[in-house]
Amino acid sequence: MTVAIRVIPCLDVDAGRVVKGINFEGLRDAGDPVELAKRYNAAGADELTFLDVTASSGNRETTFDVVSQTAEEVFIPLTVGGGVRAASDVDRLLRAGADKASINTAAVARPEVINEITERFGSQVLVLSVDARRTTDPGCPSGFEVTTHGGRTGTGIDAVAWAKEAAERGVGEILLNSIDADGTKEGFDLDMIRAVRAAVKVPLIASGGAGKPEDFPPAIAAGADAVLAASIFHFGPVDMIARVKQAIKEAGFPVR
């Protein structure tokens, strides 16, 4: 009788194609986001996230096509991030078939946009994506700093305070990505998860650092309600989602 821990694969999409490579056999087209979404759905994903990494806004139209084609065939929640700056962007994504939008840089630049989006579409529609790293900057008393541009640019904003403010402004979820752990495959930044968990009541999605199924239960014990990862699913065996869920279940947490 408890809500299941969500396991969420994340796909980076550039001009309508999946990038960062996918290592599945038996796929007609491993660069086709729709085909991959179907594959992950069949493998037991609880939700899907597309991150639109398209550099030029002219190519962004293709993202809407990808979202709409995916929504035609996959009946689990779909979150789309990248390039969300205003309520009108969210409106377009929802119309294309997304269930939620995630916002990052634009909210850091202008926090009021969170209120504007959630007052119009409800809290459940907006995920705040926080790319955070460890810092000794006295301006960040939690020891974690918000970064932008994929972790390359520090903002001097305290990550825990920012998560708290965004939740108060109305975001329905927080996606917490550790820049330090990302790509290390050495496990999640548990201190960071605990710090944000203690500050907010909204669901928390942990990201960054997963290298094996056993890395996931500690993130959940630290307070994550959901876990998001990319490469472990893209490059792992086809049943990696099931293996991750098995590890979570064996640690005593509910899964679907």
Binding site: A4, I5, D46, A71, D99, G122, Q124, V125, V202, P203
Partner: protein, 212 residues
């Protein structure tokens, strides 16, 4: 093959309405997305979606003139299925941020904030359907996708007259027990999103089509 059931999805400007259309088409319904009175009243089944705030949904229903349509269908024994906020508005009132908004009042009860440590209640949860369920037949032990902060936490519609069929009430839990589904003659509603609940959700929609 049987003739596809004609279903209207009520289009009153609520969020991602296309997903309900697609999911119903996926299970074989002949779907019309419409806010025209004849489409809403004549369809074999009416689906009332709903995303966002209770008050906003009630206002939108009023703006398209749909407030009476649901009651009219129910009075004529024409099936209706409410989803998420479309489930909540079937009750007497919604309370959000201390503001009370009257609902459609098909069922007694108040939609109030869930007393849970983590809100919104977001994700796949289990449900407890009763023995006489039709909607959850064959999927009693599946999980469904919920996204909401408010819910009906006490069911007050106890039928004592022996000739009346008691409503089938399905419960779920997040911080408190709450009403996750009601099947009451032609009027059914679920708090979760069957259109986003994968195969289990598809089966629920199929079960509903089977009652039309």
């Amino acid at each position: 093959m049987a003739t596809p059931k004609k279903v209207t999805v009520l289009d009153y400007g609520s969020g991602n309405i296309r997903s309900a259309v697609r999911a119903l088409e996926h299970v074989g319904a002949d779907v019309t997305l419409s806010r025209r009175a004849e489409d809403v009243l004549d369809a074999e089944g009416l689906l009332v979606p709903g995303v966002g705030a209770f008050a906003a949904v009630m206002k939108a229903l009023k703006d398209v003139g749909a407030l009476q349509w649901i009651g009219r269908r129910v009075a004529g024994n024409r099936p209706v299925l409410g989803i998420c906020v479309g489930h909540q508005v079937m009750f007497e009132e919604g309370v959000e941020h201390g503001i009370r908004t009257p609902g459609l009042g098909e069922w007694p009860g108040s939609v109030e904030l869930l007393p849970a440590p983590i809100v919104p209640h977001m994700g796949w949860n289990t449900v407890e359907p009763p023995e006489n369920t039709r909607l959850f037949k064959g999927i009693e032990n599946e999980r469904f996708y919920f996204v909401h902060s408010y819910a009906v936490q006490s069911w007050q519609f106890d039928v004592t007259q022996p000739r009346m069929q008691p409503p089938a009430v399905t419960w779920a839990e997040h911080g408190a027990r709450f009403v996750a589904g009601v099947e009451n003659g032609p009027l059914s509603a679920v708090q979760f999103h069957p259109e986003k609940s994968g195969d289990a959700g598809a089966q629920l929609l199929k079960n509903w089509l089977g009652t039309l």
